[in-house]
C-alpha cells in the first residue's frame, strides 16, 4: 500500500491571536508551529496502515522552507519520504495550492509508484478553505470523501471503507475503490509522540524539494476543472485576501452568581428566568 499524506504548517495558537502591524498575518514571533490537527491524524493513519500492510508512506507540504520542521515531525513517527513544495512564504490561495499539489503528485507517480491512497486534512486549521483535497481529487480523476474518522481496507485490498459522522448523529460509511483520496478529521486516531531515536532518524533523512516561489495569480493552467479545461480556460484563483482582523468582543464581564455549592439556588433561579427549567 503506497500512501501519501498532505499536511500544512500552521501556527500553534493557544490564547489570544495577535496580528502583524500590517494586518496581513498572525504575528508568529512568539508562537511555535505544528501540523494542522486533522492532518496530524492523517500522518498517524498512514504510518499505521503501512505498519500493518507494508508498502511506503510519503508526506508532502506546500509552504515556506521552515515547513521542513513539520515534514521531519512526520518522518519522526515513521513516514519514510518527504516532499517540500517550497514557497517564498507568501500565502497561496486554495486554487493555486491544489494545482501545484496535483502537478507534484503526477510527477511523483511517474517517477516512483502510484499512490493507492492519498490523505488530506478535512480543512486547514488556519485558512479553513475546505476545498484543496477535492480540487486535487478532481484534477487527478479520483474519488474523494471528506470528514473521515475511521478507515479500513476491504479484504481484497481493492477498496477502502471510510466512516464519518452523519448529520444529527450516527455514522455513515463509504466504500471507495483504490486509488482514492480521503479528507480526514481529528478523532480518526490518537497521534503518537515521536521518540528520540525517531527524531534523530528523521533529522538525517533527505527531503525532496521543488522550488515554487511566490503565489501565481492569474494564468495557472493547473488544477483547472474539466469544464474550464474543455473551454480552454484555466481555473480562476481566489478568494484574494485583503487583510485580517479579530472579531469584535461583544461581551462584558460575567455576572458572578456565587462561590461553591451555595450558589446552586441562584443558578436555578437563573435557569427559571431564562426558561430552561419550568418555574
Amino acid at each position: 500500500m503506497n500512501i501519501l499524506v498532505c499536511v500544512k504548517r500552521v501556527p500553534q495558537t493557544g490564547g489570544r491571536i495577535v496580528l502583524t502591524a500590517d494586518g496581513q498575518a498572525i504575528d508568529t514571533r512568539f508562537l511555535g508551529h505544528t501540523i494542522s490537527p486533522h492532518e496530524e491524524c492523517g500522518v498517524e493513519e498512514a504510518v499505521q496502515i503501512v505498519e500493518k500492510e507494508g508498502g511506503s508512506s510519503t508526506v508532502l507540504t506546500l509552504g515556506p522552507v521552515e515547513a521542513e520542521e513539520q515534514l521531519r515531525d512526520a518522518m519522526a513517527i515513521g513516514i519514510e519520504r518527504a516532499v517540500l513544495l517550497e514557497t517564498d512564504g507568501s500565502e497561496w490561495d486554495p486554487v493555486s495550492t491544489a494545482g501545484a499539489i496535483a502537478e507534484s503528485i503526477e510527477s511523483q507517480e511517474a517517477a516512483n509508484a502510484a499512490f493507492d491512497l492519498i490523505l488530506f486534512g478535512n480543512e486547514a486549521a488556519d485558512t479553513g478553505d475546505f476545498q484543496v483535497g477535492v480540487r486535487v481529487a478532481v484534477a487527478l480523476g479520483r474519488p474523494i470523501i471528506n470528514g473521515i474518522k475511521e478507515i479500513w481496507l476491504r479484504d481484497d485490498r481493492g477498496a477502502v471503507f471510510a466512516r464519518r459522522e452523519a448529520p444529527g448523529g450516527g455514522w455513515e460509511t463509504y466504500e471507495l475503490p483504490l486509488p482514492a483520496i480521503l479528507g480526514v478529521k481529528e478523532g480518526l486516531n490518537l497521534p503518537r509522540y515521536p521518540s528520540v531515536p525517531g527524531r534523530l532518524r528523521a533529522k538525517k533523512k533527505e527531503i525532496e524539494r521543488v522550488a515554487l516561489g511566490g503565489s501565481p495569480s492569474g494564468a495557472l493552467g493547473l488544477g483547472a476543472g474539466e469544464d474550464a479545461a474543455a473551454a480552454g480556460a484555466s481555473a480562476v484563483p481566489g478568494p484574494t485576501k485583503l487583510g485580517l482582523r479579530l472579531p469584535a468582543e461583544e461581551k462584558t464581564a460575567a455576572e458572578v452568581l456565587g462561590q461553591g455549592p451555595d450558589a446552586a439556588s441562584a443558578v436555578v433561579d437563573l435557569f427559571e428566568k431564562i426558561g430552561v427549567v419550568a418555574r
Binding site: P94, F130, A137, G225, V236
Partner: protein, 336 residues
C-alpha cells in the same frame, strides 16, 4: 439585471436544515442588493415538500431534482446537479451552508467549474459600487473557525460561497410569503459521481437529545478531573433535558468520545444555554460555543479566559457545584 442567487438547501425529515436556512438568509440579502431573483436547489425524494416551505424564507423559485438517486449523500453527484441548475440559470452567486456537506458539495462545484470558492462567509457586499453584479465583490469570511476574520475580494462569473454556521440569523418573510414556483429538473447522473456515496447508515446509539440539537449543553474540560467525573455532568444534563459535550483536552485524554468535542476541530453548537464546567476557554473551544445565547461558566479560576465570554459565573469546584445544582432542580421539582 443580474442572474439569480441560488441557495443549495439540505434537508432531513421533510424539513430544511437549520444551517441551510441561515445560508438562505444571506442569499436573500445578496439577492436584494443585486435586485436579483432568489432561487433554491433541493435534491432527493421529498424535495418538493421541502421546496414548498422555502417561500417563508423568501425563495421565489425552487429547482427540484426529486430522483431517489440523490437521497444518499454523494458530494460529486450533488455538485453535478448544482452545476446543471447553474448552466440553465447563469446565477450571480451560489450559496450553501458552511456545514460538512455544504462545504463539500460546493468544493466539488468549484473544482469542476474552475471557479474560486469562499468558505464560511459571514457577510458579502456585491459589485464594484455600480449596483450590479460585475466587478470584485468584497466579503468577510472566517479563519480559524471564527477566531479570526478575513476581508477578501472575490471576482468570478459566478461567486461560490458557503455561510459560516450561526453567523447569520434565519430570516422569515414578515408577511404575505408567496408559494415558490417549483421547477423540476432531471440532472444527468454520471456513475463516476456516485462512487463516493453513503452505502451504510448507522443510527445514533445513545438515547436523548443530540449535542447539535440540544437547547442546553453541559460541557466539561480538564477541571472535571476524570472520565468518571462526567457522570455528574450527565446527571445535570438529564435534569435539564440537555446533552453533554467536552473540550479538546477531554477527548484527547479519552474521557469522552471525539464526537462529543465542542470547538474548532469538533462541533459548533448554538444552544439556549451552555454550561462550561472546568473549561479554561482556549480559543479553539470558544469558537465552538460562542453562538450559545447564554453561557454559564463554573470554574475555580475567576480570571480564566472562559470568563471573558461567559454571561454568568460560579467560582469553585465543579465536583461539588454541579451536583448541588442538580439537587436544587430536583428539590424544586419535588416541592408541592
Amino acid at each position: 439585471m443580474s442572474g439569480p442567487v441560488l441557495a443549495f438547501i439540505e434537508h432531513a425529515g421533510g424539513e430544511p436544515d437549520r444551517l441551510s436556512l441561515e445560508a438562505l438568509a444571506l442569499a436573500r440579502g445578496l439577492a436584494v442588493s443585486l435586485a436579483a431573483p432568489l432561487e433554491a436547489i433541493v435534491l432527493g425524494s421529498g424535495a418538493e415538500a421541502v421546496a414548498g416551505r422555502l417561500g417563508t424564507f423568501g425563495a421565489q423559485a425552487v429547482h427540484v431534482a426529486g430522483a431517489a438517486d440523490f437521497d444518499a449523500f454523494a458530494p460529486a453527484a450533488w455538485g453535478a446537479a448544482t452545476r446543471a441548475a447553474m448552466e440553465s440559470r447563469q446565477p450571480a452567486a451560489v450559496v450553501a451552508a458552511g456545514s460538512e456537506r455544504g462545504n463539500e458539495v460546493m468544493a466539488h462545484v468549484a473544482a469542476r467549474t474552475g471557479l474560486p470558492m469562499a468558505a464560511n462567509v459571514v457577510s458579502v457586499s456585491p459589485g464594484d459600487g455600480s449596483g450590479g453584479a460585475a466587478g470584485s465583490w468584497r466579503l468577510v469570511r472566517q479563519r480559524w473557525a471564527g477566531s479570526l476574520l478575513e476581508d477578501a475580494a472575490l471576482d468570478a462569473p459566478t461567486r461560490l460561497l458557503t455561510v459560516a454556521p450561526h453567523a447569520v440569523a434565519i430570516d422569515p418573510v414578515a408577511s404575505g410569503a408567496a408559494t415558490p414556483t417549483i421547477l423540476p429538473f432531471e440532472p444527468e447522473r454520471d456513475p463516476a459521481d456516485l462512487i463516493a456515496r453513503v452505502v451504510k447508515v448507522e443510527a445514533r446509539t445513545s438515547s436523548g437529545v443530540s449535542l447539535s440539537d440540544a437547547k442546553v449543553v453541559v460541557g466539561g474540560g480538564r477541571g472535571v478531573g476524570s472520565a468518571e467525573g462526567f457522570g455528574r455532568l450527565e446527571e445535570l444534563a438529564t435534569a435539564l433535558n440537555g446533552a453533554v459535550g467536552g473540550s479538546r483536552v477531554v477527548t484527547s485524554l479519552g474521557w469522552r468520545p471525539h464526537s462529543d468535542q465542542i470547538g474548532q476541530t469538533g462541533l459548533r453548537i448554538a444552544p439556549d444555554l451552555y454550561i462550561a464546567c472546568g473549561i479554561s476557554g482556549a480559543i479553539q473551544h470558544i469558537v465552538g460555543c460562542k453562538a450559545a445565547k447564554q453561557i454559564l461558566a463554573i470554574n475555580t479560576d475567576p480570571d480564566s479566559p472562559i470568563m471573558a465570554v461567559a454571561d454568568y459565573a460560579v467560582i469553585g469546584d465543579v465536583a461539588t457545584i454541579v451536583p448541588a445544582i442538580t439537587a436544587e432542580i430536583e428539590r424544586r421539582r419535588g416541592a408541592p
